[in-house]
Structure formats: C-alpha cells, structure tokens
Symmetry: C2
Subunit: 300 residues, 2 copies
C-alpha cells in the first residue's frame, strides 16, 4: 500500500491521503501482528480490517473533530476503534447464515478464507478490541472515555447495527414501504455514522449547536450512503457479491434509479449546508464526501 | 423461578439464595423485556442469559467484594455484565461451526430455537450490552469504570475467551500434553474467573496483598472448575449434549478420573487457604464453592 506513506493524495493535494496514512499506520500497529498463520484469529482480524476499504468512518471522525480545533492524538485511536467495529460487522454480515457473501472488497470473505468458526471469533475479538482501545485512550479524561464507550456500544447493540442487520435479513424479502426501508437503512449505516460524528463532537468538546449540526450532517450522509449502496445493488460499493441481497426490497426497486439519484443529490446538498455552517465554505470533509460519491457513481 | 424472591437457600440458610435473587432480579431488568417474539434478538438475549444457570461468576464477584467491605450497589450490575459475557460466549460455543450442541442447560440451544443468524447477533448484543453496563455504572468513578471495561475486554478478546475457544476447537482433537490442556483450560474458564475477581478487587479498592490473594483463589478455582467439566465429560455440568466435544483430548482421558479427582481436591484446598486468609474461617464464598462442586459431583 503506497498510500500509507504518501502525504499527497491522487489529485496531488495534501490532506486526505495523509489522514488515510495516519489511520492505516495506526491500525496496523494496534491489530495483532501478521503471524503467517500461527495466530489465525489475529491474522483474520488484520486482514478483515486492513483490506482495501475507504476508511470512511475514521476519516469523518478525524476531520470533523480537527475542524473544531481538536488536536488530540486520541482521535486516531478512536477512529481505529470505529473502523474495527465496522470491519467486525462486515465479517458477521457476510456469513453463510446472514448475507452469504463469498467476496468482499475484491477478496474472498473471512469465513471463506478462515472458516466460519474463526470468522465469528474474529468478529468478537474486533468488537472487544475496539471497546478496549476506547476505554484506554491516552490523554482523554476517564469520564469522557466512559461516555465514548457507551456511545459506541449503543451504536452496535440491540438498538443499532444488530437490529439493522436483523431487520434487513428478515424484513428485506417482504415488500416494504419507503419509510420502512429508510428506517432499516438508518440502523444499518446511519447509527454508526451518527455515533462516529457524536464521538467527534464529544472529544472535540463541541458546543451544543455544533453537535446538532454534526448530527444533521450524519443523518444526511447516512441516507445518501445507503441510497448509493442501493444504487450499486448493495454489491459493487463494497466489491461484494450478492448472496441473499438479491430480491431484497430496496428503494431503487421501489422508486426507480432516477428518483433515488435525485434523493441522493438532495441529501448531499443538505449535508454540505451543515458542513458549511460548521466549517466554512472550503473544507476537507466535504471534499472527502464528494470524492467518495463521485468515485462510486463513476464505477456504476 | 421461586428462588428469585427467596431470601433463604435450600438448606434454610440466609445468604446465597438472597444473592442469587438479587442477580436474577437485576438481570431481568437490564435485559430487554420479553416481547413474545416481536423482538427476537431481545428474547434470545433474555433466554440465553436467564435460563437455568448457577450464576457462578456474578456470585463470586459480589461475595468477594462484599467480603472486603464493599457495599457498592454497582456490584450487582457488574456481576450482570460478567454473566451476560458468559451467556454470550456459551451461545457462540454451541453454534454448529463450533461445538454444534443442540441442548444447553436442559433447553434447546439458542441457534436451534432462534436460528444461527439470531444466535450470532444475540452474542454480539450481549457482549455490547455488558460493555455498555460497565461503562455507565452509577456511583463508580469514571476512571474505575474505564479500568473495569479494559479488564473485561482483555478477558474476552484475542488473548482470552476467544483464544481459548479457538484452541479448544482446533487443538482439542490432537493429542496434547497435560500442560497444553491446562493452558487451554486456563483461557476457556480461568481468564474470566480471574477477570471477575480482579474486578471485585478493583471495585472494593482492595490492597495489593488482597488482590494477589484473590488472584490465587481465581487461579485454583478456575483449574478446579475445568477439571470438574472434564470429569463430567464437559457435558453434564452445563446440561449440554456433546457434539464436537467427543474425542477431545482432556485431562481425564490422559490421566484417568481418579488422578483428576485428586487434583481437583488439591485445587479446592488451595482455594480455601486463599479464602481463609482473605476472609477468615467461615464465609459464604467458600460455602458457595463447595456446594457447587458437591452438587455437580453428586450428579456424576
């Protein structure tokens, strides 16, 4: 990965590539070292997390907090924790009893490479490692650490990712209204986006007004992201083959791609309004968001 | 469960039954309410945790801390968190890709009743709920809460339960030395016992000397517990049917039951020495331990 040491991104601009490099460097440090098969759980943790991926959540967290003046080195670790939660949730989603995916991010899924037993234990280990990282963040006051752990747990648990995945599996095959689909989408992606930006607000000691603006941004971005996922058939975005995803009731199936693209653009516009109010007109976080969506839609 | 409201145990003695009742009452409160099938993850969390079980870890935690003079109401919640971790680990251990057990504690296992997808998500939800409980313990200083979360995470993660389950699955079928078996056993049960009693020491503000005695007690108890499990073929102790447990290399297979019983008795004697030094001659925690082992060996 030559991105790791690059301080300039592929457009020759300093900033995003440097953030990406910081995240990847620290992830490689906090994950178990490559054991060449001696520690299969550790290797699966490493591969499941370090594999190609856009580091959307940690990048958002870091940029959002830095934009508010937060220079805490703990930002990177907090971002790594969110990324490990995300990676663990993808491992679970891909399992045969879930979406039954064989390929993710262009690679065989973790259970295909390491076996289902290792996949489950790896997801547990990643989740646990994330909580452990947050609870021991250096230079963060302990009451803030406890709040961050709570926030992260709420995003994962029965009211968050777990519920979203369950609803998607069990209700996705039935006809759903646009509102029902949006509610599940909110749980599947919106909750972790929301928690990520809420944590950015906490660690940056944001004002109540700033926190609300970040919440609005997270809401719009989460919806835009899920619409993008739907537009890509829920597959190409993550380089994921579809198993049970096929036949799911999505907004694209319900409303048609053009209407969905329009909705997506509206969400991004609203997201930009929040960003402009928070950070002014020209900022890295908006650039990151647009590049993400432009790249994905180009590949469609 | 009429035990729940009983303040006297079946020998007519006040104490253990009251502790059990406190734990069960609080567990029923912190778990999602019975939804009669509307919230299947919540129902599975509830059944997987509240099902018959000896509440060994929360009882030990509460008695160990109270014996050191700690009266914190947070003890019960901390005990509930440990029990939820334990319940989540049993759900994972029972899955088809692991031990493939159909029955646990006299009931069909969670994946048999709710499906594999619900089982995985339930384990994740229980784990997450446990971390959430600990990170928001009322009346516990936040730096202590952060320490407790770290301790719990260490016991679960790649160096704890996860590693123990992996080694048991993958190395259990091969011949192992007594030392190798003991090392896996230590990870499978000893680590969570150790963490449980370490957390008791933390919340009770134990002296360094007391913490070391509790550590010694946890070590002996963990080994005694795993030997008991081996003596019961790893099955009857948890009312668990054996799937892949059969053919595992255990200490009983290696040394014979008589030698194992002798070892077990020695571990309990040593455990009692630690307890006597900590708490004096007559105490509830020793009574709890002996009843646990006597009851189990009687059923053998």
């Amino acid at each position: 990965m030559d991105q790791v040491s690059a301080a300039y991104d592929d457009a020759g601009l300093y900033g995003l590539a440097a953030v990406r490099a910081e995240i990847d460097r620290r992830l490689a440090e906090v994950l178990p070292p490559d054991s060449q098969g001696k520690n299969r759980i550790g290797d699966a943790m490493r591969e499941g997390t370090l594999a190609a991926g856009k580091r959307v959540r940690p990048t958002l967290l870091i940029l959002a907090a830095r934009g508010l003046g937060c220079e805490s080195p703990a930002l990177i670790d907090l971002g790594c924790a969110v990324e490990m939660i995300h990676a663990g949730s993808l491992i679970v989603d891909d399992m045969p009893c879930m979406d039954n995916a064989n390929v993710r991010r262009g690679q065989p899924t973790i259970h295909r490479r390491f076996g289902e037993d290792v996949a489950v234990l790896t997801a547990v280990a990643l989740l646990t490692k994330a909580f452990s990282l947050v609870s021991s963040l250096a230079e963060v006051p302990p009451d803030l650490r406890a709040q961050l752990v709570s926030k992260l747990a709420d995003a994962v648990g029965m009211q968050g990712l777990v519920k979203g995945q369950y609803e998607d599996l069990h209700d996705g095959a039935h006809p759903r209204s646009a509102e029902e689909i949006a509610a599940t989408n909110e749980l599947k992606t919106g909750v972790l986006f929301g928690a990520t930006l809420h944590m950015a607000a906490l660690i940056a000691e944001a004002t109540e007004a700033q926190r609300e603006l970040l919440e609005g941004f997270a809401f719009e971005l989460g919806h835009a992201f899920q619409l993008l996922d739907d537009l890509m058939d829920g597959t190409q975005l993550q380089d994921k083959d579809c198993g049970k995803d096929e036949g799911k009731s999505t907004l694209v199936a319900l409303l048609g791609p053009d209407a969905v693209k329009k909705q997506l653009a509206t969400h991004l516009e609203k997201a930009d309004l929040y960003l402009a109010e928070l950070y002014g007109p020209e900022q890295l976080i908006s650039r990151f968001m647009h590049r993400l969506f432009d790249d994905a839609l180009k590949r469609r």
